[in-house]
Structure formats: structure tokens, C-alpha cells
């Protein structure tokens, strides 16, 4: 069904458009004066000046893996992030933790964990779906590389970006 849009009926001085033009120019002039007097700053001098300190708390940057306070891998390679990832950026190869390992209780860990940062759309679904709180979107926003292969973050790189994150993880909880 078509919607009939009613145009506003303009007064005669409004039909001249001049008052509106001068009003607009006035706003521009006000901003110009404020900038010239150094009262207002509109441009950030990127890349000399970085976003780092200005990013909001909820900013979603590069996804990365985190370890717990004892440097144990939090990820158990459940592959839920691989499943949920809309652009299929994540590829995981799981492996069994050998029995003689100190943390063999968990049985499973990722052997390979790749995130293709060309594909990643920074949606944060991987962080949301992770049952072990092992993957987080950090504040890194400038992901660059000189080849496609370089843009694929492997497990080592992901832990470098991710760092440590404290807090209880279910898999170590004796009650569970």
C-alpha cells in the first residue's frame, strides 16, 4: 500500500530559502571560529596519533585466544566458534592432550587454531558462543599484512594478542 506523504505547506518567506541558507552559514561560521581559536578539535592525526586510548569499552577489535592465570590454554577445541562464525574465518584442528601431560584432565586442546583476518567481520559471535571464555575480541583494529598468508592468525599469534585472562573456567572446576 502506498503511503501518501504530505508535503509541508511553506510560508512565503520560507519559499525564498534565504533564511535557511543564512542559518546554515551561521552554524558553519560558528564552528570555523571555534576551530581557529583552538576551542574545538575535529581531526585526529592518525596514524601519528592512535585510537588506542579513545576506543570505547565495547569496541570490537581482533578476536584472540586467552590463557588463564596459570598459562593454561582455555580453549578446548569444541569448535563452536568455527560453527557460529558467519564468514567462516575460523579453522580449528583439535588434538588429544597426552596422558602424561600435567593438564591431561581436560583431554582436548586445539592443535591448530587459525583465524583468517581477511574474512573476519568482527561480529563477536565467537566470543559470545565460547563455553570456556577462551576467545575475546581485543582492541586491536589495525590488522595488516603483506600477503594473504600473513593475514591468517595462527594459534601462537592469537595467544600473543590475547594474553591472560583471570577467572574461573568450567573445565577446571572440580564440582563440574
Amino acid at each position: 500500500m502506498a503511503i501518501v506523504v504530505k508535503r509541508p505547506k511553506l510560508k512565503w518567506w520560507e519559499q525564498l530559502y534565504l533564511p535557511a541558507i543564512f542559518k546554515g552559514l551561521g552554524i558553519t561560521l560558528r564552528h570555523f571560529i571555534a576551530t581557529v581559536r583552538g576551542k574545538k578539535k575535529v581531526t585526529m592525526q592518525y596514524p601519528e596519533e592512535k585510537w588506542n586510548d579513545h576506543l570505547p569499552e565495547h569496541y570490537r577489535g581482533a578476536p584472540a585466544l586467552v590463557t588463564d592465570e596459570q598459562d593454561r590454554e582455555r580453549c578446548v577445541a569444541c569448535q563452536l566458534c568455527e560453527f557460529i562464525c558467519p564468514p567462516r574465518a575460523i579453522t580449528i584442528k583439535p588434538e588429544e592432550i597426552p596422558n602424561d601431560d600435567k593438564w591431561a584432565k581436560v583431554e582436548k586442546r586445539p592443535k591448530e587454531f587459525d583465524i583468517d583476518m581477511i574474512r573476519c567481520i568482527y561480529c563477536g559471535l565467537c566470543e559470545e558462543v565460547c563455553p570456556e571464555q577462551a576467545i575475546y575480541l581485543r582492541k586491536d583494529y589495525s590488522i595488516t599484512g603483506t600477503s594473504r598468508a600473513e593475514m591468517v592468525h595462527d594459534k601462537k599469534r592469537l595467544y600473543e594478542i590475547g594474553g591472560k585472562r583471570v577467572g574461573l573456567v568450567n573445565k577446571w572446576n572440580e564440582l563440574k
Binding site: V76, A77, C78, Q79, L80, E82, F83, P94, E95, E96, N99, A104, K105, V106, E107, K108, P131, E132, N170, K171, E174, L175, K176
Partner: protein
């Protein structure tokens, strides 16, 4: 129900969730509900095994007509001839009870739901919450029913019972006792079907654990079926363990090609890599089981040794060429041979369609030397057959062989005398599997060889073509009991792999003109026109469960015993 077709089975009226249905007498309540689309959740019940009724998940509300007290009038029937139902205040298990005349079942009442919720809470008290690690996640009945009937949260504040984890109970199986919900399906399977009762419960009570008998192992050839029937992740397969999450697997219906039984299987693959084979129920072939031998015989599909491109022998060994050039090179060499100078060695692993094309090729090449390589092993008293070729019956029928392997002697003799100058070998490794020697093959003028893997015979061949393996092709095979069954393509072969019927079609075309075959359906159509047994059939008519085609006196030991147990009413079947 297996009772179908038998004469004079008394039918009883049963009310399920307010609607009246008729079932043959002796039908289990759970099966009656399933038949009318009311799935009753269950763990321990399995139609192929006895019903101990120990999981209590299938509790339903039941009612029978009221019994009049002495002197009281019997209850009156309504206009449809049904008596009123007086409901029993306590629930009953649906798996081990059979239907009775005028019985009432409620699968959707408050009491039933409360029971299911209670059982779920009980089962989850000690169950570890390690679904992200557990291989069963995604096909776990406990997960599924927890979503449907669970509480969402746990009221349990005490320490969970610790039990052995990661226990090695057999060469192919790993046990996690904490995940076990004591349904005893695996115990019953090893006892009743596999006749290898090595499993049992010990430490009864809240510390009950599933254990293997001291000094014994769960090592029989059917052990991996326990992994399939385990409703939770207590038993996991060493082979599939942590390889792939089940929700990624694409499942295709096919048949196992490791022996002549032709067990119906599901191929689980992801991105052209096969991860597991699981049995698919077919009560005429393999019931619901398959042997470990067949189940694990697929790793070569993902092997590094796979041939990926057509190869033609040049001055410096084999060189990669385009398909057209390889076919042309083969056709040129074969075209120079006179009648009966070429021998065709096909394989019992080829589909009927591929064998039919081989037959065509033999007539185009004007050769009488056609045979397959017989392959045998030790049969067991269950499913595994002595004939390890999946399509011996097909080869006999399509190629007209009386005794497979008979002509191989003549071919070798002809090769030694120099009468046979060229060899076409389809999907067989003659040196390793048929006792041919490299010298023998080296004397020939020309060898055309198709095979999925690099092998010693390929070394001696002039043209080597990558032929598709069983998960990469469509077609039909005839098993030992004479049943025509269908293979479906689950994966694409690596590189430029082609199905053998395509290769042979192109070769025939290069040798002697077109044949109007573009699709596998065309091959089947022409085959049905030439071979009487296939008349009226198409690949799609074969269906997922196959059709009986030939009369053989082959018996399947496992099925015989199962039918006996069904007849006795021990199992549902």
C-alpha cells in the same frame, strides 16, 4: 513391526493421548507410541536388544478399563465399542510392557512430564558438564532430552561422584565412566549380539561403574557398535575421537564395500574428507550393526598416496597430462592390438555400471580375456563374509563370469607366451593383490591402469588414471544375498579423479565412436536393456534399502539369530 504380513495376529484397541489406534497384540507400548508419531524419550531401550527397563526415562501414564467389584455392573461401552479407562495413579515404563485391549496411554500428561523431568535431574546429578570436550555432543540423547525435559539448572550442591575417566577398555574404544548413565546397552550388545560378554557394572550404588572384565578387553570385531548405541559420550571411538564435531559432518547413505555383505552405512564427511562410517539400519542386510573391519577401512580415502592426475609414461618416467591426452594415448596403443591380444582385468569392487562399461570395452577391444581378481578372507559368524569383494555377484552377472579368477590363469599364461600384449586393469593392484610380478607386467607392450592410490602395478603401467574410490561414486552393487544396493557419492575425489565408468566411456568413445552415455543413469538404462535381471529398474528405484534381485542360498548368521529372538518376543527387532 516385524509381525506384519503374518496371518491371524490379534489386533487390540489402544488409546494414545486421547485417540484410538489398533496395534497387533504383543506390540511394546513404546513402539505403539512411536508408530503414531508420539516419540517416548528413552535411553536403555533399543529395539535390537532386550529391555531391562532400567533408565526409567520412558515412563508414561497408563490406564485400563475398571474392574467391577462383585455384584457391580460391568462398565458400559461407548458408541465406538470402547470401555472407559480408569487411569493408574503410578506411571509405567513403555519399553518393556506390551499393549493390551482397551489400554490407555498418556505420553503428554503432567505426570509423564514430571517423571521425565525427575529422571533427567537424577541422571544429571553426577554427569560432568564437559559437553565442549565430549565427542557425543551434538548427537547426545542426554543433551537432547535435557533441552526437552530438563530443569535448566541444577539443585545439586554437593561434590559430584568421581569416577575413572579416559579408561582404555579395548584397542578401539575409550571409556569415560563419569559420563555413563548406566543404561547397559553396551553390556547387552556385547552379551546378546556379539557373544563377547566382557562388560559389566561393578560397585553398585551411586559409585556404579561400567568396567571390562579383569584381564579381558573389549576387542571383538563388533566393538565399535557399542559407541553407536551409547546414548551419551561414555564410550567413544579411538579412531573418531576429537577428529571432528558431529554437527559439521555431511551424512550420505551408502554401503560398505569391505566385504560381500554390503552393510548399509552412513558416510560422515566434511569438505571432501571422510571422518567416519556408521551403520544404517537395514533388516535384510545388517540389522543395525557393522563390523569394525569395514567401519575403519576408509582412511586410505584421505591418504597422501592418492593419485590425483592422469599420468602417461614418457622418456623420464610418468608425466602428468590432460585427461583427453591420456585417454587418446591409451586408445592409440589399444587400437593397434589385434583381437584377443588385450586382456581386461576388472575388479569386484566396481559397481554394476562400471562393470557394464568394462563389458562394453571388452567387446570393442574384441577380447575374450575378461576377469576380476577374487579376494577372500576369514568369515565370522556374524556379518563379515569370506568374500571380500563387495560386488562378486554383480561381476558374475554383468561380465558373465562363472568362477571369478578362473581366467586369470589363462591371462598369465597368454602373457608369458606373448599372445597377450596389452592389459587394461581397472581398480586392481595386480602385484599386491593378485600375485602378478613386475617382470611379468614389464614384458607387455602396454598397460592401462586405474586405481585410487599409487601402487606397484601403477609403476609398471604406461597410462595411470586416478579412479574414484567407494565414497566418491554413485552406482549399484549386488551383495552376497543377491540384493541390489546403491552407493551414493559423499565426497569428490582428490584432484582430477574420475569414476571408472566415465573413464571407460571416454576410452570406448576414443576407440570406436560415441555411445550416448552422459550420466550414470544412462549406463543403468542401457544395462537394464541388455541384462534381463535389471529390467524395469533404475538407480532411484533401488532406494536407500536396496531391492532383492538374485536368488542365493546365502544366509546371514547374525540376522538368523536376530529373527529367532524376534520370533520368541525377546526383542522387538
Amino acid at each position: 513391526m516385524s509381525d506384519e504380513g503374518k496371518p491371524a495376529v490379534e489386533m487390540v484397541d489402544v488409546q494414545i493421548d486421547g485417540e484410538w489406534h489398533q496395534f497387533p497384540k504383543g506390540t511394546r507400548m513404546i513402539e505403539a507410541c512411536r508408530q503414531v508419531g508420539k516419540e517416548v524419550p528413552h535411553y536403555c531401550y533399543h529395539p535390537k536388544l532386550t529391555s531391562p527397563g532400567n533408565c526409567r526415562m520412558c515412563l508414561v501414564e497408563m490406564g485400563m478399563p475398571p474392574r467391577p467389584r462383585p455384584g457391580e455392573d460391568p462398565p458400559e461401552k461407548d458408541e465406538n465399542g470402547h470401555l472407559p479407562i480408569s487411569w493408574i495413579p503410578r506411571p509405567v515404563i513403555a519399553c518393556a510392557n506390551t499393549v493390551a485391549p482397551n489400554m490407555g496411554i498418556r505420553t503428554d500428561s503432567d505426570l509423564t512430564h514430571a517423571c521425565r523431568q525427575g529422571v533427567m535431574e537424577l541422571l544429571l546429578i553426577n554427569h560432568p558438564l564437559d559437553c565442549p570436550i565430549c565427542d557425543q555432543a551434538g548427537e547426545c540423547r542426554l543433551q537432547e532430552f535435557s533441552v526437552e525435559h530438563g530443569n535448566g539448572g541444577s539443585r545439586f550442591r554437593e561434590q559430584k561422584v568421581k569416577k575413572p575417566k579416559n579408561v582404555d577398555i579395548g584397542p578401539r574404544i575409550r571409556l569415560d565412566d563419569e559420563r555413563c548413565i548406566m543404561c547397559s546397552r553396551c553390556i547387552r550388545f556385547t552379551d546378546e549380539v556379539a557373544d563377547d560378554p566382557v562388560l559389566g557394572f561393578t560397585d553398585r550404588g551411586s559409585h556404579t561403574v561400567l568396567t571390562v572384565h579383569p584381564g579381558q578387553q573389549l576387542a571383538n570385531n563388533y566393538s565399535l557398535n557399542t559407541v553407536d548405541i551409547c546414548p551419551v559420550g561414555a564410550l567413544t571411538s579411538n579412531d573418531f575421537r576429537f577428529q571432528m564435531r558431529v554437527w559439521f559432518l555431511k551424512e550420505d547413505k551408502s554401503i560398505c564395500t569391505s566385504c560381500g555383505r554390503g552393510c548399509n552405512i552412513t558416510i560422515g564427511s566434511r569438505e571432501d574428507e571422510v571422518y567416519r562410517l556408521t551403520p544404517r539400519e537395514n533388516n535384510e542386510v545388517n540389522s543395525a550393526w557393522m563390523c569394525d573391519h569395514g567401519r575403519l577401512n576408509f582412511h586410505y580415502l584421505n591418504s597422501e598416496m592418492r593419485l590425483t592426475d592422469p599420468l602417461v609414461r614418457g622418456a623420464e618416467g610418468h608425466e602428468t597430462v590432460a585427461w583427453g591426452d591420456a585417454i587418446q594415448a591409451a586408445a592409440d596403443a589399444l587400437g593397434r592390438c589385434e583381437a584377443n591380444e588385450i586382456a581386461l582385468i576388472a575388479s569386484g569392487r566396481l559397481t554394476n555400471e562400471e562393470l557394464f562399461m568394462a563389458r562394453r570395452l571388452a567387446s570393442v577391444m574384441k577380447t575374450e580375456f575378461v576377469d576380476i581378481v577374487p579376494r577372500s578372507g576369514e568369515a565370522d559368524d556374524y556379518l563379515l563374509a569370506a568374500d571380500r569383494n563387495p560386488n562378486t555377484n554383480g561381476a558374475k552377472l554383468v561380465l558373465g563370469l562363472d568362477e571369478p579368477g578362473q581366467a586369470l590363469k589363462d591371462i598369465r599364461e597368454g602373457m608369458a607366451q606373448g599372445r597377450i600384449k596389452a592389459l587394461v586393469v581397472l581398480q586392481e593392484n595386480l602385484i599386491d593383490d593378485a600375485g602378478f610380478t613386475a617382470e611379468e607386467l614389464g614384458k607387455l607392450d602396454f598397460i592401462l591402469h586405474t586405481y585410487p592410490l599409487a601402487n606397484p602395478t601403477a609403476e609398471t603401467a604406461d597410462v595411470v588414471l586416478p579412479g574414484a574410490a567407494f565414497s566418491e561414486k554413485r552406482g549399484s552393487m549386488i551383495n552376497l544375498t543377491g540384493r541390489l544396493q546403491r552407493l551414493n557419492r559423499a565426497t569428490d575425489g582428490p584432484g582430477q579423479t574420475r569414476e571408472v565408468w566415465e573413464i571407460v566411456r571416454d576410452l570406448i568413445q576414443a576407440l570406436g565412436g560415441g555411445n550416448g552415455i552422459y550420466l550414470i543413469e544412462d549406463v543403468f538404462k542401457q544395462m537394464a536393456g541388455e541384462i534381463a535381471e535389471f529390467e524395469g529398474l533404475t538407480l532411484s528405484k533401488i532406494g536407500d534399502l536396496g531391492v532383492p534381485l538374485l536368488e542365493t542360498d546365502e544366509k546371514i548368521p547374525l540376522l538368523e539369530r536376530e529373527r529367532e529372538r524376534v520370533a520368541k518376543g525377546i526383542i522387538v527387532g
